[in-house]
Structure formats: C-alpha cells, structure tokens
C-alpha cells in the first residue's frame, strides 16, 4: 500500500514569518498527511502546530464547495449556482457599471494576506487588465517600522535569520516566536547552547518571554523610549562603539545633544515602567556581549509613535556597532518579493485615458464611502476577511450594505463572505501551483499541485482567467488579461536571469528538487555601504525631516482616551493566523479564544471576578468576552486575542501610525492605540 503514496512539494502560504516548505503525502488523490521538507535549510523538516493540522484545512466540513449566491445580501438565503452563472452575473454587473460611468473606476478590489503566494496577485492583475479602477494601497502590518528602517539605513533589508546562531546576546523586542515564528527558536537555542543570553522585552509575558533568561516588562508604546534610555546610559558611560559612530553614522552630535538635554532617565523609568537597575542591566548586556542582535517585532510599531519606536531600537544597534555584524545586526522584515518582477501585480492594463485611484487599506470603508465621480459600486474581496480583521468595522458594515455587488473569494464562509452577494470557493495551496518567498528567512520554494481542487474550488488565477475570458466574449477588448497563460508559465515569467542568479538556479524547475536560498545580500550591511543619500547610517535623517517627521528618533507619548482608561492589545493566538483558524478542530478551542485577560487590581475596581462574562466597550463598539484575571498582565491594560465570533476589531480606533507612506503608500495602523472600558454583565442585561 505504501507504494501508492505520492509525495509533493508545497509551501505554507500564510501571512507568517516562516513560509515553510512542506512535503504532502497523497494517496488516491487524497492528502493524508504533511511534513516539513527536510531540504529546506530554515524550516529543516519541521512545521508548526497549525501546519501539522493542514489536512483539517483541506477537508474541513466547513469548506466551501460550490459558488453560492444569496438574496438579499446578508439574509443567509444561499443558493448554489454554477460557475457559469456566477461569471455571467458578475460580468453583467461589471459591463453595466462600465457603460453607466464610462469607465471601470466604480470597480474596486480589497485583497490582502490570506494567501501570500506570488500567483495570488492574479486578483490585482485582473483589475489592472480592466484599465483604470479603484485600487488598494498601504499595509496594515509592518509599514511604519519599514519606513523607520528605510530612513535609517536607506533600504529595508533584514539579515539572514539563520545567522542568529552567532549571537552572544539576542534581544527580542515585542515578538513572540514561540507562537508566531517557532522555527527561529532552533537558531536562537543554538546560540544559547554556546552561551548567548536571551532577553525578551514585551508588555505581555508571552510564551517566548517565559523561556528567556531575562524578561523585562515595558509599558506599551514606550519601547522606543526604553531604547533611548539604554542609549543614554551607554553614551554617558562611554560604552558605545565610537569608531563605528565616527565612520558610519550621520547625526551623532545632534543625537548626543538630544540624549543629553531631552532624555531624562527618571522620565524613562516613569513612562516605561522599567526600573533603574534593569536599565543598567540592559546597558551592561549590550556593552558586554558582542555581537548583540535586536529583533524588532511588529507589535511595537502598531502605535501612533510606532515608526519612532523602531528607529530608536535600530539606533541602539548602530551605536553599539552591531549593524552589519554577523550574529549582531537588526532584524525586522525582509521584503523578498521586491526582487521579483511580480508580473501579475504589475500587469499593464489597457490605456483608457483615465487614471486609477487608490484607497488606504487602513481606512478603506470610510474612504470608499466618500468616493464620487463615480462612486464605488462593485467590490471584489479575496484572501481577506475585513469584517473580522480590519479597522473601521462599523464603516465596513455600512459600505457592504451600500454597494451594488460584493463578490468574495474564500475557502470558508467568513464574516465577510456572509455579507456578500456571491461567494466563490477558493483552492487551498495544495490544489494549484505557486512560488513562495518569506518576509523573514531568505529561502524560495515551489508549491506544486498535490491534489485536484476540492469540489468546484478554483484558484485566484483560474478565476481571473475564466472571468476575463467571459468578459471579453461579451465585450471584446474589455480586459487584456492573458487568459491562456498557465500557472506554470506565470511562474516561468518570474524567473528572469537576475532572479536565477540571485538564487543560484539554472531554471525554476530546479525547485522541484530542493528549495533555494538567496545567494547574495544575506547580510545587507556587511560592507557598511548604506543606501541612504549620505551612504551612512542616518540617526539624523534628512529624508524623515523632509517628510515632516522628526529627523532624530525622538520619543513622544501617544494620545490616550480618558473616558476609556484601559489600553487594549490584540496579539495573535497560538491557534490561528489572524482569523484563519482551521487548526482549532485539532488544537481545541483553547481557553484564550473567547477571553479578555486583565490585571486583578483593574478587575477589583470594576467588581469583575475570574470567569465573569464582561462587556468590553468604547466609542466604536462593544464585544462580549469571559474575564480572566492574571497578575502578569500590566495594570491599565487588557489583552484580547484576534478574531472571535464577535471580532475584537470593532473596538479599534482607526488611528494611524506615524510612518508607512514611504514604503507602502499609506501610514501604518495604530492598532494598539485602542482604549476600552470593561464592565461585568449582570444577568438582567443578557
């Protein structure tokens, strides 16, 4: 029987650091199990808990099998339709709108990270092929920090994370790899086995913090100030790398003056909550361990001062002379897709004499509702669940009511799909070809078609091909999408001679054997040749100043909301990736899923006891959770994990971070600048 097992190569396409290469075991066309691909040098044959549960994703009883239509929208009166009917309904609407407004600018898409495979940019490619339309710009995840990195070193590149094995000190600022990047622990532990010290700085006592040699709790949004405090101690005591600073840094004098005159250690202690002896300990660790690496997570830049937080921590790497050092350096985000042509994303549409417009992903519905000439009428949602994961959930609900047609492509009946007219079933990554790179490690891997599509599911690319074909039958020349081009031909087109050289490949087909690693630039600043205008590391950034930002990594306290005194953090749970939670069936709906965690003192003040049902509310909305009391949670702060039946995002402020425009086209989201009140639900209220 074992001889009937076929093994395929797949890549986990989730919005995750690790982008794991997998081996898929298929018997009689059915996926029976998955394993990590041992030939992938970063993942080394292991998957995370969610990854090992992938058979539950593919064969979930909740998975969508056929195209569906409901009338009226949101009624739940779903009817199964054929793909032909779906394409006809959608085409008729697209053409009618095109004729009504004389352009396709009333058509919009909203697509993000549900599947980050390169061929999933077929959605953007399809809209490009219509000519001018309404686009999406910006990034909700990491854009503020990315700009911070670019202001400092000129280019957002992250070193090879495998090099962390050489570190003597690893400081993780606001990341929880035990839950969100578990493969990195292998490299961190190799360093620890050689004597490295692991420090975790985080407002939340995470599973990663629990394993660290030193856990340092810090108040949310003050990480940058803590970094400046450490910098001040190091500089005052002359324990910084003066030759690095002299040769490779711009703006030292003004930064020195800023530390001297504006940063007071008393204020650092008061605002960050980090005591004087701990500040001293951190300074000692940085000055006594060489090389020392900083890993800056995404949480601390989801603040109004998020970009400045990242700049301050990066500056700490520079003044300790760690930038460019193997085993030292600064880790944030590696934009691997920037190397590729991204032919689908960049598909050149026909020139219809009009210009596309774009909506900010972080304020999408409010901007969409205000569009005129023409107003937005049609929305295509793919790889996205904004009603669970976006800001401005209330505006989203309004927008979805006002549009003339909403189409959602997904594997499951998400909150957003429930509010659509037509839902199209999408394939999983086991059901079509793709290629995947990571925003963390430097590997590239091929995703093969291991099994046939589940029932009538189709990939984003297949849908784009078939819908554009239908549109062109009805109105010749409507779209210039190359609908005959196969998935493998799109892959082939990504492998320019430059890409082949960068990854040391002779053909993309080499990836059928083993994944490939980037051969160049694994340590982007090894030669200390920074990509800034000055060629140096810019602690003083003229570009930042020109963009109306502080030139130096200054600290400023973000706004708070006095009527809602508790700050709410919404980190990832171990069981899910954002709202994608297929692993729950195996992992079990864990205790954290439907819970708000708060400090016992805050609970006492509100007469809330452990296990009570509570209402968490602010001016934006209200959700219900079970209260859990935990003294490890900072006073004045609550934690609610992402997603849920009543998605927690309805409480978000909609505020923006300070940076993000430079790299992503719009400011990042200050997701952690959310303030709430908690009250016990008494029986009569239920």
């Amino acid at each position: 029987m074992l001889s009937d097992v076929k093994v395929f190569k797949n890549v986990c396409p989730r919005n995750c650091y690790n982008t794991c290469a997998m081996l898929s075991y298929v018997v009689d066309g059915k996926l029976i199990k998955v394993e990590g691909d041992p030939s992938h040098g970063y993942c080394q044959g292991r998957l995370c808990g969610k990854g090992y549960a992938y058979t539950r994703y593919v064969y979930s009883p909740k998975r969508l099998r056929y195209p569906l239509k409901q009338y009226p929208r949101g009624s739940g009166n779903w009817v199964r339709i054929t793909w032909e009917e779906a394409f006809n309904l959608i085409s008729a609407k697209l053409l009618e709108l095109n004729h009504r407004y004389g352009s396709n600018r009333s058509l919009a898409y909203n697509k993000c990270s549900g599947n980050v495979g390169i061929l999933h940019y077929a959605t953007e490619g399809m809209f490009n092929s219509f000519g001018s339309h309404t686009k999406l710009r910006g990034n909700p995840c990491m854009s503020a920090g990315m700009d911070a990195v670019e202001y400092s070193s000129g280019e957002g590149r992250s070193p090879d994370p495998e090099a962390m094995t050489n570190s003597k000190l690893i400081v993780i600022w606001g990341a929880n790899p035990a839950w969100t990047a578990v493969h990195q622990l292998n490299f961190i532990n190799q360093a620890r086995d050689k004597g490295a010290v692991l420090v975790v700085i985080d407002p939340v006592y995470t599973a990663t913090a629990a394993t660290a040699d030193h856990y340092i709790q810090v108040r949310p949004g003050t990480d940058g100030l803590l970094a400046l405090g450490i910098a001040k101690v190091l500089v005052e005591e002359g324990r910084y790398d003066s030759s690095f600073v002299k040769e490779h840094v711009v703006g030292w004098e003004s930064f020195y003056k800023y530390l001297q005159e504006k940063v007071s250690l008393e204020e650092v202690q008061r605002l960050t909550g980090v005591a004087e002896n701990v500040l001293q300990l951190l300074a000692d660790l940085y000055s006594q361990n060489d090389p020392a690496t900083n890993w800056c997570g995404y949480g601390l830049q989801r603040h109004q001062n998020g970009g400045q937080n990242v700049r301050a921590i990066y500056t700490l790497s520079a003044l300790t002379g760690n930038v460019g050092k193997i085993g030292g350096d600064f880790y944030y985000f590696h934009p691997s897709t920037d190397f590729f042509p991204m032919n689908l994303l960049n598909l050149q549409g026909p020139d219809d004499g009009q210009v596309s417009r774009a909506l900010d992903i972080n304020n999408y519905p409010s901007q969409a509702l205000s569009l005129v000439d023409p107003p937005m009428k049609f929305l295509w949602i793919a790889a996205r669940n904004p009603l669970s994961q976006d800001q401005e959930v209330q505006d989203w609900t309004r927008l979805l009511k006002e549009l003339e047609m909403v189409v959602t492509v997904d594997l499951f009946m998400t909150k957003t799909a429930e509010a659509s007219d037509i839902v199209l079933p999408a394939t999983s990554h086991f059901e079509d070809f793709d290629i995947n790179v990571s925003y963390w490690h430097h590997w590239l891997a091929l995703n093969q078609k291991a099994i046939e599509p589940y029932y009538e599911a189709k990939s984003d690319l297949e849908i784009a091909k078939e819908l554009t074909r239908r549109l062109n039958e009805l109105q010749p020349g409507f779209s210039n999408f190359p609908s005959e081009r196969t998935a493998e031909e799109w892959i082939e087109s990504e492998f320019t001679s430059e890409i082949l050289r960068l990854y040391g490949l002779s053909s993309w087909r080499d990836l059928e054997e083993v994944p490939a690693k980037l051969q160049f630039g694994n340590n982007p600043w090894l030669d200390l040749n920074f990509k800034t205008n000055t060629g140096k590391f810019e602690i003083f950034s003229k570009n930042a100043k020109d963009d109306k930002l502080p030139a130096l990594p200054r600290f400023w306290a973000e706004s708070s909301d006095l009527s809602f005194p508790l700050r709410m953090l919404t980190p990832q749970n171990i069981t899910s990736i954002h709202s994608q939670n297929w692993a729950l069936e195996w992992i079990g709906s864990d205790k954290r899923g439907n819970v708000v965690t708060l400090n016992p003192q805050d609970a006492v003040q509100r007469k809330v006891e452990d296990g009570d049902l509570v209402r968490i509310y602010n001016a934006q909305g209200s959700v219900t959770r079970k209260a859990r009391l935990n003294p490890e949670v900072l006073q004045g702060m609550v934690i609610i994990y992402q997603g849920g039946k009543e998605p927690v995002n309805s409480l978000l402020s909609g505020l923006s971070a300070d940076m993000g425009k430079k790299h992503s086209g719009s400011e990042g989201a200050a997701l952690y600048n959310a303030f709430v009140e908690v009250e016990k639900i008494v029986r009569s209220q239920i």
Partner: protein
C-alpha cells in the same frame, strides 16, 4: 544489556508550541478527541508535553480484563485493538491519561512510539517535530546525566515507573512593571 525506550523531556526548552501534539495527530490520523500526546501549561509557568510513558510497570497492562496490552522487549507498551472491548478500565487507571477513548471506534488507543516510523529508522513524529529539542528519545535504563525522574506538575511516578526523564527548569530573571504610572 536491557533496553527501555522512553522520552527525555527538557522542561527548560519546551515553549508549549504544540507542534508535537499536532504532528502526532497528523502522523497517526487520530480523531479530534483522541490525543496520544498532549501539551499543557503547568501552574509553575512551564509546559509539559506528555504521551504514553511506556512504563516499567504499566497499569494499563495490569488492569486490562481482555489482556489487550503487551510490553515489548524494547520496553514499548502496545495495545492490541482487536482485543479491546472498550471497557475503559485502562483509560481511568493510567495516571498519565495515555490510553484515549476513541468514540467512533468505541475502543481505547494510545501512543505506539511511532513503531512504523521506528521500523524505517525514523524518530517518533513528536520528536521529529520538536523545534527546541525539548523532546528526545532515550533508553531510560541508562538515563543521561543531569536528568531527574520527575518535575513539579507531573503525576506521581511511584505506581507505574514511567519511562521518562526530565531536565529541570533553570531559574530565570523577571522584571515586572510594579505599579500604574
């Protein structure tokens, strides 16, 4: 030389990521309610990953009215599913909740030390999946140095003599924000 296959659990390294628990389900296709390996958080703040401990004196073996359990020469305890009549005596007798009751099949089932993988020279799926080296395979007749027979939070070992050893947790330094600003 005698042999007793067993696990070494490094409590210092386990981060509770559940890769072992899920890899076990993926490998053995166990139904949703049957978890041959389980990861839990201990009150000490550490984690515990536990499966069948292939005990020296297996209580399941002793109590089974159908004599469905065997202890192999390599120490691995196996259940013969064909003999099991689903009486659940073993399920309630085991201190480690190793035999799990399969509601569909109405029988007990448990960790096989991944015997089919072992036969082709592979480690158990849980050990292969561990990212931190917290789980490894040892011969508990020759326990490695600096290991201890139990840790806080692990059930009493006196009854069954489980084939598991532990590396204890080192003390770590914690600096909490003490009060509200």
């Amino acid at each position: 030389m005698t042999e007793q296959m067993g696990f070494l659990f490094n409590a210092e390294r386990c981060v509770g990521c559940k890769s072992c628990e899920m890899a076990c389900k993926n490998e053995n296709s166990t139904p949703a309610n049957v978890n041959w390996r389980r990861v839990s958080s201990l009150s000490t703040g550490n984690n515990l990953s536990i499966s069948c401990n292939h005990c020296e004196s297996p209580e399941c073996f002793r109590v089974c009215p159908q004599r469905a359990y065997v202890k192999r020469r390599d120490g691995i305890v196996m259940i013969n599913i064909n003999r099991c009549d689903g009486c659940m005596t073993c399920v309630s007798a085991c201190p480690y909740k190793a035999p799990q009751f399969d509601l569909e099949k109405q029988k007990a089932s448990k960790c096989t030390f991944c015997l089919p993988r072992r036969e082709v020279g592979l480690l158990p799926a849980c050990v292969s999946a561990c990212h931190t080296g917290a789980l490894s395979v040892i011969n508990t007749d020759q326990p490695p140095k600096n290991t201890v027979p139990t840790i806080e939070g692990f059930p009493d070992i006196r009854l069954t003599k489980p084939s598991i050893r532990f590396r204890p947790v080192k003390e770590k330094l914690r600096y909490w924000v003490s009060s509200k600003e």
